[in-house]
């Protein structure tokens, strides 16, 4: 018998019991669809985190101060800890000392209320810095101007606002040259940052002002919270990091790693740490989905066993008129495989459709290999789980099969 005919017999067999066939396919459909969708969700969340980190710039290195929080064993030596200073930032920006550092900007941050036209909003990220901050942290100016060196030198009360802050405080109004009260002190808005978007936290809800102004009016003269450093390229981050370590160690007179009073985080390591978390997450989701695919496969075995039992007499007839073992085996294998192929194909369609929608705030990104794998596994399931019932059918003795009522 030609494969085409075996396929036709299988199709007829499936059509004979439409509801049963549809329900069995549904099992496979859900399994395949779940694998595709859940892997896509895992991948999507990983992609969005990655995108938001990349938004900050992959060659960005953050040096943060470890004092006060008691982190990393620094608590016991409180008085030994040296502050991160503006001079540290300047030293890091010096190409003679750190050739792989493109720019460095001091960051001192606090939170404050921002009031405009009697509307008050709280901004958690009020950043005091220098003009270098904008290129270093990959921030563009959408409207107005950035901070200038003169603003910093003269501690002018000017701010650049993040787009979310503008929206919250001004609504549709143009904020440029308007006056806002920050912690009760009047500031003039000179510019608005371009929207970065992405990420779990809204990085666009921010206020940027000269570090000198922040220190004079809002935060006082403690240690800087951070120094933002940009390496000359993403590939140079390791060298840049080594140079930063050398510069800061010599400036802070640190001789052993136990004395370290700062911490260096580069986006590359954040990315890879995130990647790992997300891979685990994706694998877990995929495993749950794979289990449902397995259950779908067991559904195939179950229904094929019922089919074989129901059609014992038909098998007997076929054997009596000369069907060889292989033809019977082929017929039932074809039926179960057809079940899984159609179910799998519908599952791929369903999974791809569902992946177009946002799922729990994550835009799924379909992984092509998961589609191929899920479909392939479903076809293999049909062969594997249909194999046992088909072998049972083929092994029936014609005389007994014919007597079956």
């Amino acid at each position: 018998m030609s494969p085409w005919e075996i396929g036709r017999f299988a199709l007829l067999g499936l059509l004979a019991n439409k509801i049963r066939t549809a329900l069995t396919m549904l099992g496979v459909l859900i399994g395949v669809g779940a694998v595709i969708l859940l892997v896509a969700v895992g991948n999507g969340s990983s992609k969005s985190v990655q995108a938001s980190i990349e938004n900050l710039g992959t060659n960005l290195i953050t040096v943060s101060h470890t004092a006060g929080g008691g982190r990393f064993g620094a608590a016991g030596r409180g008085s030994d800890l040296k502050d991160l200073t503006l001079d540290d930032a300047k030293a890091l920006a010096d190409p003679a000392q750190a050739p792989h550092v493109k720019s460095a900007a001091p960051v001192q941050s606090t939170s404050a209320s921002v009031v405009y036209a009697a509307q008050s909003t709280t901004v958690n990220s009020v950043v005091g810095t220098t003009p270098d901050w904008f290129p270093t942290t990959n921030h563009q100016i959408a409207r107005g101007v950035a901070l200038s060196a003169a603003d910093v030198d003269n501690a002018r009360k000017v701010v650049v606002l993040g787009s979310t802050t503008v929206e919250n405080a001004f609504g549709p109004e143009d904020p440029i040259d308007k006056q806002v009260l920050i912690s009760g002190i009047p500031f003039r808005v000179v510019g608005v940052l371009a929207t970065k978007g992405g990420g779990a936290q809204d990085t666009d809800d921010t206020v940027v002002m000269p570090v000198s102004t922040l220190r004079a009016s809002l935060a006082g003269y403690g240690s800087l919270s951070q120094i933002a450093v940009q390496a000359t390229s993403a590939a140079d981050t390791d060298e840049a990091q080594a140079e930063i370590t050398a510069v800061l160690n010599s400036r802070h007179k640190i001789t052993s790693s136990a004395q370290t009073d700062y911490r260096i985080v580069n986006q590359e390591s954040l990315l890879s740490a995130n990647d790992e978390t997300n891979r685990t997450f994706t694998v877990l989701l995929g495993a749950v989905a794979a289990i449902s695919l397995l259950v779908g496969g067991i559904g195939i075995t179950n229904i094929m066993l019922v089919t074989v039992a129901e059609r014992t007499r038909e098998i007997g007839i076929r054997k009596a008129i000369g069907a060889p073992r292989g033809a019977i085996l082929g017929q039932f294998l074809a039926e179960s495989t057809l079940l899984s192929v159609i179910g799998g194909a519908l599952g791929v369609a369903a999974g791809l459709c569902a992946a177009r929608f946002t799922v729990v705030g994550i835009e799924p990104v379909v992984v092509p290999s998961s589609v191929v794998a899920a479909f392939g596994v479903s076809v293999a399931l049909g062969l594997f789980f249909g194999g046992y019932p088909a072998a049972r059918a083929a092994a029936l003795r014609p005389i007994e099969a014919l007597r079956h009522e």
Partner: protein, 238 residues
């Protein structure tokens, strides 16, 4: 008439079911020879072993002992695959309960044995149409079994049995489930097939069926009790 090679040659056939004390001997040593072109009716009451004999002659079951040559071929030494080929090529079955494949058209049912034999689609269609024409069902090619009367179903079954041009047509109570008119139709067809040279073995307990045969073999308790030739006045009337 010259003596053609016998289609069936059975020597000392026994069949035992069960073991030990519970063993039942269905056949106790049957000898039977059926020549080509013969029309044999195997008769007997229920329990006489006639169904067992039919199953063994049809290669659906194997004897406990004894020798069975079908068309000169010793069936005893064949494996399952070879037996399926023998059933396909050399035997045409007609069952009491028709045994058509459900949800499958008359034409497809008749084509099925040819499909298993690996005959090409075009040739298969041609031979199936000819066989259905022979049983007078050219008008019902695309009807499914549940759309056909009992008599029509049995005619499809006969067409299916003879489409592979088997050495022997083996019918097990072919009219057991039919009314008298359909019975006459089927018997006419079988008689006509025999008249055109087909070897026929019919298992039956109806005298009406046996009356068509050229030879009646009566089984009693697993042994041949009577084997007589008779004139078959009905055989060529159709």
């Amino acid at each position: 008439m010259s003596a053609p090679a016998p289609v069936v040659q059975v020597r000392g056939l026994t069949k035992e079911y069960g073991r030990g004390d519970a063993a039942v001997q269905a056949l106790r040593g049957v000898d039977l020879t059926v020549a080509a072109g013969d029309f044999v009716a195997v008769m007997g009451s229920s329990g006489s072993g006639k169904s067992t004999l039919m199953n063994i002659l049809g290669c659906l079951d194997t004897p406990t002992s004894g020798r069975y040559l079908l068309d000169g071929l010793d069936v005893g030494g064949l494996d399952e695959h070879q037996l399926s080929l023998v059933r396909n090529r050399r035997i045409g079955f007609v069952f009491q309960s028709f045994n058509l494949i459900p949800r499958t058209t008359a034409l497809a049912n008749v084509e099925l044995p040819l499909a298993y034999a690996g005959v090409r689609a075009r040739e298969r269609r041609r031979r199936a149409l000819a066989a259905l024409d022979l049983v007078g069902l050219s008008e019902r090619l695309h009807h499914r079994p549940n759309e056909l009367s009992g008599g029509q179903q049995q005619r499809v079954a006969v067409a299916r049995a003879l489409v592979t041009a088997p050495a022997m047509l083996l019918a097990d109570e072919p009219t057991g489930n039919l009314d008298s008119r359909s019975t006459a139709e089927i018997l006419d067809i079988v008689s006509r097939l025999n008249a055109s040279g087909r070897t026929v073995v019919v298992i039956t307990h109806e005298d009406e069926v046996a009356a068509r045969a050229k030879r009646v073999v009566r089984l009693v308790d697993g042994l041949v009790a009577e084997d007589r030739r008779q004139d078959a006045p009905w055989a060529v009337t159709a």
